[in-house]
Structure formats: structure tokens, C-alpha cells
Symmetry: D2
Subunit: 341 residues, 4 copies
């Protein structure tokens, strides 16, 4: 089969011919890929940023945002059958550790991460496990929803955690209306009545943000912290969801958070510097966010199937993976790029 | 009356003769002071660290940790009577803003802070409001409980917020077993069954910590982060309560926090530096903590009256305030110094 | 001034001339009434159902759902001024007890209830307290929002408590789409993405329910419990909000609740009968609901001002109070009847 | 092997010779039983009360409260090995449904219940699944902890849910200090600083309750509702944990609950009758409770291993199962009866 493989860091991945994966253990599932999202993390992988943490053996197949159809199942698989349309939680988990049993499966101590630690889904077939499969309406086109598997679930997870803080009368600032952020805006609008302010450098992204539910948009041109304060009686926002968290956004994000408020870090690349006096005198929180749980992915699919969350995507054939990665790097993708094998 | 007054920054306060305060508004209360705690914040006030934030007019009376007896009440006061024994919430609040009505009165937008913004309680009498008075068993000696008014409530507030995270099988690291920390240990032991590890530079403080409920103690001698990891299967603690948060403790505190864990900042003076990648890849939180609510002070008094929290104090006559401040600065106070007018 | 007064139980109230109320204490506020809602509880008052609990001295002025303009304020009132447009929390509270300070002011141990325990707001003026006044946009017409003061806040309170249970993929059944229920539907639609099923005897009420956000409607004709099960894969709803809770609705409500689900009682008049085996074997909850908090009323006003909650009302001059009560009793009011002095 | 089998309802089970169970599927585990608890539910099974719900094929082996050593494992089992000491969650679960993934595995839609629906653990060996095994310190004697597998986990689950309601200054009434209740008292004392009042008919049970942490005990002699009110300023308890919930205890339990309080149903057999007016006017809750989660069992084992929860047991050889059942029925067991094969 065809697969997009990384042969060396700081090199573009290439499309190779490799053997199809097959089921090994009783809970394995092989999925025929219908859509594979292209993520900023793929750029970071190519740059070698994840080498130390994940240590994959090169060459290997990248791609961690996938949907498709079940192709083969292990002997003990009971939740899906061959032919089912599925979207895949990005990290197959063990189901036995405390985190898995506590509804926090993204903290599974035995999870793997296809596309980062070993072969992923920018390919015709992917080997995953029964626990990662969310069964979908058979009419769903995998390429239309694949981006929810990682970008979507991450944005949804952060928003869901923030809901109790976002009762009517509060304000939420969302920084970065890109692949994740444009889903976050829709989740906020579907699940809360908070006032939504979106901050981004790109005026086109802000235009999309307005269509998706932002009440106010602010261009990140240097005056955006003051602009947010002006929109919040000088106090800042109850919650700031920072989908950028690099290049200064992380300092601005905390500065835009009001006393007793919470700054949610979702993007990465930068470094937070805060005097402990500023943290305690205002009792502000800095909240870490990672990919969501399997149940959260299932919940997000409910929002998607009811039309409350829609994706803005640009599709490419699998063979044009390199072009998709270049477009993403150059800021030429509105929403999410999707490879279709 | 006698009052301990600050005449200039970087100078020791002196004991002056000043007029007694009297009730002005219908909700005012004048309290005869029975005990006034001496806090590290008083040292910071003298150093001028709170000048910008609080802007008191010098000279003024310091002291923000008080208990005593009601001496005079305004016409609309219904919750206390002259003669009642009371401990005072440090920040009289309005009772009308959203925070006051939401059970978060420490975020009252109209609160004042006697001892920081204007005349406090290192004196024979203090002017406060009905809303600040927690009525006590008449047999309570104010000097025995005064330190709960600020040190106690702050430690209790942080512990109470952490309780849902500290189910059996978890570990809590408490950094700094001084005035606040030694109360925090007792609150943890009374309200959870978590494993308690206490970190401090001072072996005497660690000895006290063991008596108060710590299962493990670690000397903060440079190897303490590794020592905590060794005690937690290499993962770190579910919750770290940092009562120091300066001089490097703030970096160590975050480093001792396990994935999906929370680092609680309670002390101040230092600066947190954390890559956003470290925050998101482990989904750790940095939680701000300020003084607690009025209700939390009342709850803490229940623990105190049942003997579950006891204070280690050293009393000084009001006239020896300067000596108490020097002893605190020199690390010669185990527990809390209390002035008795 | 004119006031609608009850002279005896089981008699229609009459419009009397009585003296205007005046400010007595420092926190008192007199409000010129702009709108006074007519509530099913007023019918129950006339029937004597509240005599034992509230014990008002007859004759007295009924009416507990009010909005208007501030007419006179006590010496210590700081949150409103003469001329402000306000909506009134139905139970003035003390602000000093634990419940008031814990964000549960509806459980204030010193609250009063104008319109039930003493003179209420079906009159030209009402004596209340500063703590009951929620300041509104000066352009708001009190008659347009008065029904939010009791019907609205009660519905909102129940919905807000249910939000954590109503993530995407869940189902909420709302029983009774009348004065309270038609507000509850809008709150559910504004604050959750749950599937909303509305049950009512009246086809017109169901038609309104669909316009306000119900995805499914079910006529309460005897087959409604089965109909709800059919809409929920046979399991029942995650949450049932019962605005009726009498005449059998209370038994049906529990029966429509799925395992691990919660049955919220909001209406009253009936009696719940449930074997403890049914409660424990399915781990279902029966949740009591009373009027909401001051902050909840303020939040609801945010929803109202943004157009997310709109009231269906029918106005009557104050002099026609008896007619309004009769229309309500006869089921001739869609939404809420409002008296305008 | 020997097994205690029920051949017909309303007959005593008998000890039969039956074949040992063996592993069938990849996740199966066979456990050599070291201790099997005798539960009031076993009496109800014999009476036929569970026939309709569980429908076991007679004859079958009863016993649902077990601990022992792993004897054989399926090919895909990774969490335990032959020889491990284990305690068993009573209901093996699928790990794939929403409830299992949400930390609510007791609501698993595919769970089985050995001892109720098919062969249980009053035998030398039991067939269960990997997901049910909690690994213990190898030195633990299974007979010492077996009662935690069902009685313990149920009591712990209810207490854990109540913790957020039981801050210092509150009161918790615990009704029924028997097999479950005597564990509940210890969990309350270990995890909260609430005032504990224990109600029981049996003075010996109350004596034990005092030793285990009750501050007050009340004989259930008819005056107990008033006695509880006297101990709670006339208001009732914040939380009532009812381990009886039959023969009138269920009415008394609700009556002993204060406004805004919660009545937890844990026992069964009776029927709750409450006017909806009483529920809404005081905003009281009735909370269902079933067996706890796997993680809760693991947490409880931490309490047990640290000595914070100890069991009062009486052991019998497996051959004397009938006698143990008779003793339980006659009220001759203090704590829990345990069969040792």
C-alpha cells in the first residue's frame, strides 16, 4: 500500500510502497483510511521536536488524525465489525489502568500514539485497537470528519473543561482561529452562552470566526491585550483559551485573564513567565490541556452529526502529502488539510 | 490607645498613642483586640512591596490577623453583640457584588484590607465590619486562634480546593512547614487520607511536620525533587502545595508535580518559568491561591475547636512588636508569633 | 395606592386603597412596580395552601414576581439609586448567614417572602431590600421581564443544576411547557446541546415548545412514558425536569428517568412513591428544586437581554387582577399573565 | 471442587462437587478463592427476590464478595499473573461502553454479576475477567479483606459521593451499623471531619460504632428522629446515609435530612413516600447508591492497607455456609461472615 513516510528529520516525508498491516492480537483492528488530517504537529515531527519524547524508528508513516472503515478485526473485538464507518481516537489505550477507568483515558499509562511513536494513518491502512474506534453513521464520509479525531477532540476537551466557568455574563477569549480554534468557537457557541471574543493575526480567520459564532474579533496587532480589556470592563476574560501559546501569545494570554480567571494552554512552543505574586494576588490559574477522551470524541461526533460543528477543510490526494504540509506551513490552509487515499 | 505604626518604608514600625476608632456606619463593628498575628507579609509591607498595590497613607497601623471581643456595633448590625468573642476575616466585604454572593467573597470588588490599605489590628482596638466577624465559643482565648485569621484561612482554602484531587492512593507534597504550612499539614490530615510528604530546609520544621501528620519528610537540600520522585514511583505528586514559591521553590514545585497533577501556588516572591509544551504534554495545572472565604474561616474554627488543628505560637506583648518582626525575619519563630495588647 | 389584597382564603383578592410603603431601615428600598407576574402559587395562596407555612396577617397584598423602578432608598444602600430600572429577587435575604455567603441565598435562614409572608408586589409600590435589586438596562420595560423574577429564576435554577449532566448525546425530558416550562426550554437550548423532549397535555403548548427549541414533543395522553422510552433507546432520559409534579406526573417522571439519571422535581402538589430497590438498583436520583439565587437571576437577565430567552406574556391592568387569576386557573394563559399598575 | 449451590428458591443452598472452571476467552481469569463474604443479598436471592432481575439457571453457585489468588489467565491478560493476590470487583465489565470509559463502570451496559446471574464465588474457584482483578500486597490474607469486595465498596462509594457535602461544621447521620455501615463509619472518619451520628436498633452495634468513629449514637427506638433533630439545632443532618431503607427507616431517613440536604439510599426493601411540596420547598435530594467502581475498590484497599478501615468478621469453613446464612438471618453476626474454602 501507499504510505507517507519520514526518512529523516528536516526532510519532507515521501510516499513509499509498504506492506499492509494485519491484525496480530485479539483486540487489534485494521482500518481502511478514508481521510487523514494534516496537523501542525506533523511539521513539528519533521523538525525533530518529538524525537526525544516519542523515539520512532525511521523511516515510519506519519498521520495521527484518521477516519475510515473497519477492514479486519481481532478475535475478541466486540464493539465494531468489518465494514463499519469509524473515526479513531488518536491514542489506543489499555482500558485497565486507573486513568482509563477514571474517564481520563488520555492519561493512560500504557497508551501508544500511531503517527508519533510508530506507523500512523497517512496511508491506505492503519493498525489500531478496538478501544480507539468510535462507530459512526454509515453515511458519514470519513474525509469530512477526520479532522475531528485530533484537532476537534483537543478543542472540544478544552471547551468542555471550561463550561462550568462560562455561565451567562462571562467572557471567553479564544486565541488562534485556525485548525483547532475554528472548532473551539463552534463548541463554545453550542455549549455556552458566554460572550466570545476571538483574537488572531489573520483578518480572514477573524471573518470565519464571526460566521462561526464570535461576538467580537480582535486583530493580534500589538494592541490586542488592551482591546480585550476594553471589551471586558478593564478586567480581562473569565477564561482565555490559547490555541497558539508561542511567540508571545502565552504572555498576552495570561495578561488577558481576569482575577479568579483561568488561562487554558492548548497550543505550544512558547514559555510562560509569571511572578508567583501575580498568580496568588489575583488567584488566577494556568490550565494544561491535552487531547480529549474517547467519550469526548463520541460527544463531538454528536455535535458534528447535528450540524453544530462543521469543518472547514481542503482535501489533497495522498500522493500530494508534501504539498499539503507546505501549504500548512505557509499559512495557506483555512481550517484543516485532509489527505484522501 | 497603643498601635504599631509604620512611619516609613524600610523602617521598623513603632508603638504610638492614637485615638480609639469608633463606629461610623450602620454595619461597622469595633473590636477590642485579644491577639494579632505577625506575618511574613508584614515584613514585605515594611520593605515597601505592597505600596503600589495598597497605597496606604503613612503613618498607619499594620496587622491583618486578628481576634478579640466586640466592643461597639453600628445600628444595623444583627449578627454580633457587644461582648461576643470573634475572629475576623481579614478583608471586610460588601456582600452585594457577584463574588460575595457566589461564595467567593475573597474576590469582592469592594473589599478593604485593614493592615494593608489602612489601619489594621496591631493595636488595642480595630474598626471592621459586621460581615468580617465570625462568632466564637465565648471561652476561646483570642490569642490562641488569631493566627487562623490569615495564615490559617489561607492554608485551609488551598487544602479545601485540593480535596477532590486527593482521594486514597494519591500523594500530596507540601513545601514549607512554617506559619501557614504547619496548619496546612493538619488540614490535610483531617480532611483526606492522601499520603503527605513535607519538604522544608529546616530539620526542626520537619520534626514538627511529622508530629502533625506528615508520613514522609524531605530536607530541601538540592536533592529534594529526586527524593519526591523516589517516593512517588518516579511520577511526582498529584498535588503540590507550595507555601514558599520563591528562591527556586517554584521551579521545583512544578517539577515535583505528576502528569495530570496540579501545582498550587500559595507563597510568593519568585517567578514561574514553564515551557507551554511541558504544560500541555502532561496536562498539568498551576493553581493560584489567595486568602479563603468567610465560610472557610468558620469551617476552620470548627476544626480548631475540635482539636484537629492546633497552632504553634509564641506570644509577645504589643510593645515588643519590633522584636517579634525581627524574630520572624531571622527564622526564630516556630509556628506563628502573636502580639497580645 | 392601589393594591391587590387577600381578605380571606377561598375568596378572590380585591383592589384596595392602602398607604404607600416607605423606607424604614438603612438597607430598605421602595420600588415603583412596572409589572407583577401572576403565578400558580397565587392560586394556591388563595386556596390556603401556604397559610400554615407563611402565616400572613389578612388582609395583605399578594404578588411575588416583580420588576419596576427604584423609588426610595435607605441610608446605607450603595448598589442602586432612585430611578434605576430593577427586577427583584423574590426573597430578600440577610447576606450574613452561611447560605447567603455560600452562593445559596435561596436557603438564607433569615429571608422573607413578600407576597407570601407579608405585603407583596401586586400594587403600585413595594417595600423590599437592597440585596433583592438586580439593576437592569434603563431601557428595559419592567412588564416585559417581571415573569423572570420567579417563574424564570426557578426554571433557570433547575436547568443550570442539570447542565453538567447534559453533555452532547444525552436526552432531557421537560414535563409541562407552561409559565415556567417555556422558559426552561429556552434555557436548555441556550446552555446545552442535549436532545430536548417536551411532554404536555396541551397541543398548543407543544407547538410553542417546538418553536422555542424542543426537538421532540409528546402529548401527555397516557402513552407518554412509552413514547419517551421509544425516543431514548428504551432506557429513559438522563434528566427529567418535572414542572408539574402532581396528578401522576411525578410517578411518570421517575419512570422516564434512565439508570444513573436524575429526576428533578420543580412543580408540586403530588406525592412520589418509589421502592428503595428501584432507587438503588438503578442509582437514580430525585433532585429537589426551589427558586434560584440572586446571581442566577442576574445571569438569566443576560440571556433575556441577548434575546436567548423571551417571554410569552399577556398583560392586564392592575384593576383586572381577578380576571387574570381566573384566566390562569382556567388554562387560558399561554406563557405568563402580567399585571401592569 | 466444592461449591455452595442453590437448587431451588426458599431452600438452603447445599455444598456440591462440581467441575473447576477454566479460562475460555483471552481476558478470562480463574481465581482460587481465599474468602467469600456472606451478604444479606444472599438471603434475598434464596427468597427469590432477584429471580426476575437476574434469571440464573438453577442449580448455581452463589457468592459475590470474593478475594483469593490468580490461578489461570487468558492469552491477552496483562494486568495480573498466576499467583497474584487479588480482590474482585463484583461485576466484571466490558471496558468499552460509555459508562466504563466515564469512570462509572458499575453502570456498564454489558456487565455480568457472578453469584447472581451465574456461578459465583462460594466455591474453591471462580471464573472472572481481567478487568475485575485488583492486585493486592502479596501478604494480604484474602479472608481478611473479602468483605470489602461488595459491602466495603458499596459503603465507600456512598461516602465518597457525599464528601463534597460534608465540610467541617456539617453533620452526617448513618443509619444501620452492620456489615456495610460499620465500614461506612470508618470511611467517613478517614475522609471527612463531619460530625458523625449513628442510628441503629442494636446497642452492641452502637458500641462498635463509637469505637469506629461515631461522635454520637442514637438507638432506633421510635424517638430517633427527634433525637437527631436535637443534635442538629432542630434542622436535621446535611447528609443521611441509610444502610437500612426498609421497615420505616426510609421515611425516618428523609425526615432527618435538613433543608438543602441529601438523603442517600443504600439499603433496600422499603418504599419512599414524599409529597413533592416537601421536596421542592426545602430543596432536598434523594440520592441512589449502588456498588462502587473498580477504582473505588482500589482506593478502599489503600485505606484498608493503611489500617484506616478494618473489618469485623467471623469466619466459617465453606462446608458451613448454611450455618453462616442462618446466623446472618438471625442477627447473630457482628460485622461480616466470611466463608473460607
Amino acid at each position: 500500500m501507499k504510505a507517507v513516510r519520514l526518512h529523516g528529520y528536516h526532510q519532507q516525508p515521501v510516499v513509499d510502497d509498504v506492506p499492509e498491516p494485519t491484525v496480530q492480537g485479539p483486540l487489534d483492528v485494521v482500518v481502511k483510511i478514508g481521510g487523514a488530517g494534516v496537523c501542525r504537529t506533523d511539521l513539528h515531527i519533521i523538525e525533530g521536536q518529538w524525537e526525544a519524547a516519542m523515539g520512532p524508528t525511521l523511516p515510519y508513516t506519519i498521520g495521527h488524525e484518521n477516519a475510515g472503515w473497519v477492514h479486519e478485526v481481532g478475535s475478541a473485538v466486540t464493539n465494531v465489525q468489518v465494514g463499519d464507518t469509524v473515526i479513531l481516537h488518536p491514542t489506543p489505550t489499555c482500558g485497565l489502568c486507573r486513568a482509563c477507568r477514571a474517564g481520563q483515558d488520555m492519561h493512560c499509562v500504557n497508551s501508544s500514539f500511531p503517527g508519533l511513536s510508530h506507523d500512523g494513518g497517512m496511508a491506505e491502512y492503519l493498525l489500531t485497537s478496538a478501544r480507539a474506534c468510535v462507530k459512526l453513521d454509515p453515511q458519514t464520509r470519513p474525509q469530512d470528519v477526520a479532522a475531528l479525531a485530533d484537532a476537534g477532540i483537543t478543542a472540544y476537551h478544552a471547551v468542555r473543561k471550561a463550561i462550568p466557568l462560562l455561565y451567562p455574563g462571562t467572557t471567553c477569549v479564544l486565541v488562534g482561529a485556525g485548525g483547532l480554534g475554528h472548532i473551539g468557537i463552534q463548541c463554545l457557541a453550542a455549549l455556552t452562552a458566554t460572550k466570545i471574543i476571538v483574537v488572531d493575526r489573520n483578518p480572514d480567520a477573524l471573518k470565519l470566526a464571526e460566521q462561526l459564532g464570535a461576538q467580537y474579533t480582535v486583530v493580534a496587532d500589538g494592541g490586542h491585550v488592551d482591546a480585550v480589556r476594553d471589551l471586558t470592563d478593564g478586567a480581562g476574560a473569565d477564561v482565555v483559551l490559547d490555541f497558539v501559546a508561542e511567540q508571545g501569545a502565552e504572555q498576552d494570554g495570561f495578561a488577558m485573564t481576569r482575577p479568579a480567571g483561568s488561562y487554558f494552554v492548548i497550543g505550544y512552543g512558547g514559555e510562560v513567565h509569571v511572578p508567583t505574586l501575580d498568580i496568588i494576588s489575583t488567584e488566577r490559574n494556568i490550565i494544561g490541556n491535552i487531547v480529549g477522551t474517547y467519550n469526548e470524541l463520541a460527544e463531538l461526533m454528536v455535535l458534528a452529526e447535528s450540524g453544530k460543528v462543521t469543518l472547514h477543510t481542503k482535501t489533497y490526494p495522498l500522493a500530494e502529502a508534501a504539498e499539503a504540509l507546505k501549504d500548512l506551513d505557509a499559512g495557506r490552509v483555512r481550517g484543516r488539510a485532509i489527505l484522501v487515499p
